[in-house]
């Protein structure tokens, strides 16, 4: 491994702050799009958690074993998850 991989090079000697690199802007746009898609999916009612892809949101109408219920703390406060 070269020394430059272990220590940063002095990148700038200018008296003004450096501009934000293009790759950082691209990262920001992608992050924004992913966050928006996540929020839209939540608003659209896509289920999240154990109730995912089950019809009633209560783990598919399945009666859960008592030990499972006792040992589980659902993220959304109910067995259907949140969303």
């Amino acid at each position: 491994m070269s020394r430059s991989q272990l220590e940063p090079e002095r990148e700038t000697t200018t008296s003004t702050p450096p501009r934000t690199p293009r790759w950082v802007k691209v990262f920001g746009i992608i992050a924004l799009v992913v966050a928006l898609l996540f929020v839209i999916s939540l608003l659209a009612g896509v289920r999240h958690g154990p109730g995912l892809h089950t019809p009633s949101g209560d783990a598919g109408g399945y009666t859960l074993p008592s030990s499972v219920i006792e040992g589980y703390t659902p993220p959304g406060g109910d067995l259907g998850g949140h969303g």
Binding site: Q5, L6, E7, P8, R10, E11, T12, T13, S15, P17, P18, T20, P21, W23, V24, F27, H48, G49, P50, L52, H53, T54, A59, G60, Y62, L64, P65, S67, V68, G71, Y72, T73, P74, P75, G81
Partner: protein
């Protein structure tokens, strides 16, 4: 505080080991998910859910936490810093988000593993219903980890305003 070279090499080795181990463990987890999705056997389905919980709890979660911890030590103990370079900052944010989602999602995995441990083959449909979520979480998680890996290997240029200010202050102090 800047670490001495030997300590830095030790922490860097640990960080690389834990980080790549995290990626490997997620790949193993994905293999279990795919095996469960493609199998028609109810026993295989139950066994894979239990194996997924064990892999998550005893491999993925510890590796994620140690990777995050050693990454913090590496940043704070070297001149890279935590907020001075964009690639370090973005890697930190992505690692924290990935770890948070992992810890939250492990509750769901434990739930299904509990169902798998206590039920018979009549409820295979319930267990099968949770698999698409696993494929999504593990797949996106792997993608995020690979992005972090590329950032850490390539170390793309780009200093934050905070990093520039710190560098400017140090230069001012060293050149009165």
């Amino acid at each position: 505080m800047i670490m001495p070279p030997r300590l830095r090499t030790f922490v860097l080795t640990a960080h690389v080991t834990f980080s790549l181990g995290w990626i490997g463990a997620v790949v193993a987890y994905l293999a279990l998910v795919v095996a469960a999705m493609t199998s028609q056997d109810a026993q295989t389905l139950r066994a894979t859910w239990i194996a997924m919980e064990l892999t998550g709890s005893f491999a993925i979660v510890p590796l994620a936490l140690t990777s995050l911890l050693t990454g913090l030590v590496m940043s704070l103990g070297t001149k890279w810093g935590l907020f001075r370079y964009y690639w370090v900052l973005i890697s930190l944010v992505l690692t924290i988000v990935a770890t948070g989602v992992l810890l939250e999602h492990m509750q769901t995995v434990s739930f299904f593993a509990g169902v798998a441990a206590e039920t018979d083959s009549a409820h295979a449909g319930t267990l099968r219903g949770g698999l698409p979520g696993e494929l999504l979480h593990a797949g996106v998680g792997l993608l995020v980890l690979l992005v972090i890996e590329v950032l850490n290997v390539s170390k793309p240029r780009g200093m934050t305003r905070y990093g520039w200010r710190k560098q400017h202050e140090q230069r001012t102090v060293s050149q009165p």
